[in-house]
Amino acid sequence: MVGPTASLSVLSRADGSASYKCPATGYNILGAVNGPVELPGRRDALKPEDATVEIFIKPGTTTGGVGERATETILKSVLGNLVLGREKGFPRRGVVLTLNIVGGENVERGDSYLTLLPALLHAGLLAMISASIPLSMTLSAALLGVTTSGDIVQNPGPAAAKSVVSLHVLAFSSKGHLLLNESRGRFDFDTWELVRARALSICQGAHDGDVAMGEGENAASVNAFIRETAEDQIYSDYAHKLDSI
C-alpha cells in the first residue's frame, strides 16, 4: 500500500498551510491557517485569556451542510485542545483553520465523516505547524475497519467503509494519550481493544512485541511521518542558516 504524502507551506497567502494526501482512501486535503488574527465585532469572550480556534471544512464538489458543522465540532475539540491559546499574542484572538477537500469523494448525507477524519486531522495539524501556532503536542490518527470475518483493515475508502461491521477512528498524542475515539457499527469492547492496539502501533510505530507487524513502508509510524514532514520543512526554511554553520 502506498503511504500518505504531505507537504508544508504550499500556499502563499495564508500564514500556514499544508497538503495531505492519503492514496488509500483517495482523499486530498488542503489546510490553511491564519492566526493569530483579530476577531472583529465579537464580545469579550467567556475565556478572555484564551485564543478562539475556528475550523471550517469546505467539501470538494458540493455545498457544506450540517455534516460539515458536526465534523468541525469534533476537529475543534481535538485540534483546539492542542493549541496553547494563552501564549503571548494569542488571548482574545482567533486561529482560523480552513480545510478544503480538493480530492476524493463526497461524504453522503447523514453519513459519518469517519473515513475523512484522519486526513482532516493530519492536514489541520500540519497547517498549524506551518503557521507556527504554539502547540502542546502533536497527534497522529488512524482509520480502521473490522470486516465481517473479524479482520482489521486499515484505511478503508468510502466504498469499503460501507461493507465493514464497525469503523473506528482513533487519534493519539505524540506522548501516547488517546485524544479521540469515534467508533460506529457493531462491536464489543474486546474487539475495540484490539483495534486500539492496532491503531496505536500504526500511529506510534511498532511497540514491544509487535515488530513483526511492520512491512515495507508501513513500518514507519504516522507519528514519525508527521515529524519528518515538519522537519523537512524546517530544514528547507533554515537552509541558509544551516549552511553557514
Binding site: R42, R43, D44, A45, L46, P48, E49, P91, R92
Partner: protein, 242 residues
C-alpha cells in the same frame, strides 16, 4: 388596619395609601397599593422620624424569615430559595470578573449583585442571583463562549475610580488582570452598554485572583497578592479581607 394577605399575586389590592406607604414589589393606583409581583406580603414597621406609615412590600426573596418578621434578627437558618433577577443599581455592591484591561479602564462582567442591606452579615447576603438550582442547571453555554457574556451586565472601572489615593499614579495593569474577581460599587448606570463601577474604598477591589502560574493567590497587603506555591507576589488593587 385591614388584615393583610400572606401571599399576593400581581394586581391584588393590599391596602390603602392612607394607612401604608408603598414599598418594592407594589404599585399604586387611585390611592390603593397593589402587588406587582407574586410573593409574600411584608409590612415593615413605621419608623417615627423618616417614615410615619408602615411600608408594604412584596418580597422577591422567599425565605421563612420574611414570613415571620417578628424574629427576623434571629433567623440565621434562613435558606433562601429565590428567583434571580436583581439589576445593578446605584450603590449596589457587585462581584464581577475582569474581562479586559486597557490603559484607561478595565472592563468587567457582573456575576453577582449583592444585597444592599447593610445589617446582614456576609453569609446572609442573599441576593436574587442566588438560586443554586438555576445556576447549576444553566451555566456556560457550551457552544458559544460569548453567549454567557450576553447575559451578564457589562461594567467599566475607569482609571480614576480604581482607588481613592494617588489616582494619577494608577497603572491599570498593576491593579487588575483578566480573570480576577472584583468587588465593586456601582456609581452610575453609565451608557447604553456599560455600568460604571468604583473600587475606591478599602473593602473594594480584587477578592480572588490567579497568579501567572495559575494558582489562587492570597492577599498580603492592600496592593499585593502572593502565589502560595511559587511564592511570587503580584500587584493588585486588593480588597480588604474580612
Amino acid at each position: 388596619m385591614a388584615s393583610l394577605p400572606q401571599i399576593a399575586i400581581p394586581g391584588q389590592r393590599l391596602g390603602s395609601l392612607s394607612s401604608y406607604s408603598a414599598g418594592p414589589g407594589t404599585h399604586v393606583q387611585e390611592s390603593f397599593i397593589y402587588a406587582s409581583i407574586a410573593g409574600p406580603v411584608i409590612a415593615d414597621p413605621a419608623q417615627p422620624k423618616i417614615q410615619p406609615k408602615p411600608t408594604l412590600r412584596v418580597s422577591r426573596v422567599i425565605s421563612p424569615k420574611d414570613l415571620q418578621p417578628q424574629n427576623a434578627s434571629t433567623s440565621d437558618a434562613a435558606k433562601p430559595k429565590p428567583r434571580y433577577n436583581t439589576l445593578p443599581a446605584i450603590e449596589s455592591n457587585v462581584l464581577a470578573r475582569v474581562t479586559r484591561v486597557q490603559k484607561r479602564q478595565a472592563i468587567v462582567s457582573i456575576l453577582v449583585v449583592l444585597d444592599e442591606s447593610e445589617h446582614l452579615t456576609s453569609s446572609q447576603t442573599a441576593s436574587d442571583n442566588d438560586n443554586i438550582a438555576s445556576i447549576l442547571t444553566s451555566a456556560a453555554n457550551p457552544e458559544n463562549h460569548s453567549g454567557t457574556d450576553d447575559l451578564r451586565f457589562q461594567a467599566l472601572i475607569r482609571k480614576e475610580d480604581v482607588r481613592a489615593v494617588e489616582k494619577d499614579r494608577v497603572v491599570m495593569d498593576e491593579m487588575f488582570r483578566v480573570g480576577d474577581i472584583v468587588r465593586g460599587s456601582v456609581i452610575s448606570l453609565g451608557d447604553q452598554s456599560s455600568y460604571y463601577i468604583t473600587t475606591a474604598r478599602n473593602d473594594l477591589g480584587v477578592v480572588m485572583a490567579r497568579s501567572e502560574a495559575g494558582n489562587m493567590m492570597f492577599p498580603i497587603s492592600w496592593k499585593e497578592m502572593r502565589d502560595p506555591v511559587t511564592g511570587a507576589g503580584e500587584p493588585r488593587k486588593v480588597a480588604r479581607p474580612f
